[in-house]
């Protein structure tokens, strides 16, 4: 601190007595880069017979000792640490660092070069993990169904309180945001419809567009996507933080079944609340569209309703509603499964929460597309 510290230097000289390596200055972390550069220069030239002189060295810390030990190799570092003419503290430092390098640093491997092979490797790994992920999902679906089957006939094991609490959280609490969202999407669809159909003079069929869109697709899809973001993530975070704090293990050691305790109430709650929310979304969407029809197309409310009643069959409603329980089951299962996959850290909880949302939205849209194909072939 008192005197400015000079970077360490090393001079290699040869005289009658043989080669001599004289070190001086401060060998500390502060000058690490310079020391390392100098050591690299000398690396090839320091033979085994070189006498090493450390007496002119100022300060030395573990970083400096590491550079010296690496330059000299383990044998001469050990020899140097036996040198009685050096201060004991310095010898101890050299010995400790030398030992540390000897004992533990042998296993260090150079990192491999990145390149085409690494790319292929990563693609392979990604495919492998996708396959594993699918298997795990199928396995977890199986476990959940088994849980339902085994508790269905034993009313003692029904967790009514937990289910009701979950229905409140996943269903009731989501009503305002879902109704608002569907209302606005309904209005947007009506605007689009009235503009596009106006050029054919058919803007009256905006009513049918809204009806078809919300009963068949948008009602259930909007609800499922909203719940995938809102509820699947909550399930993962709840179960994941329990997993991280070993609470799941505690449940197991108490002889209880975590699937029965944590998964079934959540999935069951979603199975109840998602169809109900879907219905609300359908109504809100149609109302949103209706408001636009009344305001822009100057339709009367009774005309809007009678058109809707004439053109929409019950089938449209049932076709849309039939998808709700399937989506509910998948969202609940994926949310819970990702929670169980959490390991240890806080980071892991975050990763799996993200993964739960992405996966459940993906699965929802995939199933919706398959359902659309199926309905088309069936002529529903």
């Amino acid at each position: 601190m008192t005197t400015p510290s000079l970077p360490g230097s090393a001079t290699l000289s040869r005289d009658a007595g043989g080669a001599r390596l004289a070190l001086s200055g401060d060998w500390t972390l502060l000058h690490y880069m310079e020391l390392q550069a100098r050591a690299n220069e000398l690396a090839g030239t320091v033979g085994n017979d070189v006498k090493v002189d450390l007496h002119a060295v100022g300060a030395m810390d573990t970083s400096g000792a590491f550079v010296i030990a690496e330059l000299l190799g383990s044998q001469r570092t050990q020899a140097l640490s036996q040198d009685e003419s050096l201060p004991p503290a310095r010898r101890a430092l050299l010995k400790t660092v030398g030992d540390a390098i000897d004992t533990y640093c042998k296993g260090v491997k150079k990192p491999r070069d990145a390149g085409f092979v690494v790319l292929l490797e990563r693609i392979g790994k990604a495919m492998g993990s996708f396959w594993k992920q699918t298997l795990k999902l199928l396995a977890f679906i199986g476990i959940t169904l088994q849980g339902f089957a085994s508790t269905a006939l034993r009313p003692k094991h029904w967790r009514v309180t937990a289910v009701v609490a979950q229905i409140e959280q996943t269903g009731l609490d989501a009503v305002p945001i879902l109704a608002l969202l569907s209302f606005m999407v309904g209005a947007v669809v009506a605007f689009l419809g009235s503009t596009a159909l106006a050029s054919y003079g058919a803007s009256i069929f905006t009513v049918d567009l809204i009806g078809f869109a919300f009963l068949r697709e948008f009602g259930v899809l909007l609800t499922a996507i909203l719940l995938a973001g809102r509820t699947a993530s909550a399930f993962t975070a709840q179960i994941g933080s329990m997993k991280a704090r070993e609470e799941i293990d505690a449940i197991r050691t108490l002889g209880l079944d975590p699937v029965e305790l944590l998964v079934l109430p959540r999935v069951l709650a979603l199975l109840v609340s998602l169809p109900l929310l879907t219905f609300i979304a359908m109504i809100a969407g149609i109302v949103g569209g209706g408001v636009v029809c009344l305001a822009v197309l100057k339709m009367s409310p009774s005309m809007f309703l009678s058109m809707l009643q004439e053109d929409m069959s019950l089938t449209q409603f049932l076709v849309g509603m039939a998808k709700a329980p399937v989506f509910a089951f998948m969202i609940g299962v994926i949310g819970c499964m990702e929670g169980f996959k959490v390991s240890g850290s806080a980071q892991s909880v975050g990763e799996h929460t993200t993964s739960a949302v992405v996966q459940s939205i993906f699965v929802v849209i995939l199933l919706d597309a398959l359902a659309a194909l199926f309905y088309m072939e069936m002529g529903w």
């Binding site: 690490y32 100022g58 300060a59 400790t96 540390a100 390098i101 533990y104 980071q347």
Partner: protein, 268 residues
């Protein structure tokens, strides 16, 4: 840096606490607490639960702002320094937190390399190599560096956290209950590691502990926190003779007697 001053008097004070008062709400933790720590010693801080051992440590490293009193580390009052100057002083001490406080999103090697990259400005390659040496110094195999903290056992976490505390070659090492939660064998190994490192690196060690074996096997001096102040600060045999009910219960209780016996047997 300190090599030039090695010839200075043996009892250079590196930490100086004067008239420290810490209070949380209405509960006073420290009342006019004085403590000196000298360069190169291992000082153990003991006291019952809730006597403010950890608070004292956190006050010294500047994480807790005291109500009154002065704390000087290397002769500087941390809380009155500019941010930049404070950061410079902070680099001269390393802290091992009770549960390790390793960053869970980084591997062990990255944890240790972080201060080297941020403060010493080393390129990542060199920092990682040096991190390997620090790991080895702390007694961990190099392949532990590629693991994440959640994959390590309790003892390995302590060692990895110690390696990170040693990353910038600090002059003072603060250890908060380093052997808590370790099995007796790992704890003993950790004790001897601390003594070895102190001797090799010339560290000053500030050790908060409950572990009587650690006190006997490592500490040069022991400071007892009781009645909101430092009741005694002296070599352990002297402290054990202090006429205070807590000290007597601590050192002469069944565990205390066993540790004393073991320590004296070890010396014979």
């Amino acid at each position: 840096m300190n090599a030039q001053t090695v010839a200075a008097p043996a009892r250079e004070t590196v930490i100086e606490v004067r008239g420290l008062i810490n209070r949380f709400g209405t509960q006073t933790v420290h009342e006019n607490l004085d403590l000196d720590v000298y360069r190169g010693e291992i000082i153990g801080i003991v006291g019952g639960s809730g006597t403010g051992k950890s608070v004292l440590l956190r006050t010294i490293i500047g994480l807790v702002r005291p109500i009154a009193g002065e704390v000087r580390v290397f002769g500087e009052n941390l809380l009155s320094l500019s941010d930049e100057r404070r950061s410079q002083v902070e680099r001269r001490f390393g802290v091992l937190f009770q549960s390790g406080a390793l960053f869970s999103s980084l591997t062990v090697a990255e944890n240790i390399a972080l201060p080297l990259i941020e403060h010493a400005g080393l390129p990542r390659m060199d920092a990682t190599r040096l991190a390997g040496v620090k790991l080895a110094l702390a007694g961990l195999p190099v392949d532990a560096g590629r693991k994440y903290p959640s994959e390590l056992s309790g003892g390995m976490i302590k060692r990895a956290a110690l390696a990170r505390a040693l990353a910038l070659d600090p002059e003072i090492l603060f250890l908060d209950e380093p052997t808590a939660g370790l099995d007796p064998i790992s704890a003993a190994a950790f004790d001897s590691l601390i003594v070895t490192l102190r001797n090799a690196l010339g560290l000053t060690v500030f050790l908060v502990t409950h572990d009587l074996d650690t006190l006997y096997s490592t500490c040069d001096r022991v400071a007892v926190l009781s009645q909101k102040r430092v009741l005694a600060a002296a070599p352990i045999d002297e402290v054990a003779r202090t006429d205070d009910p807590w000290v007597q219960a601590y050192f002469n209780g069944p565990r205390g007697r066993a540790a004393t016996f073991a320590a004296h047997k070890g010396k014979d």
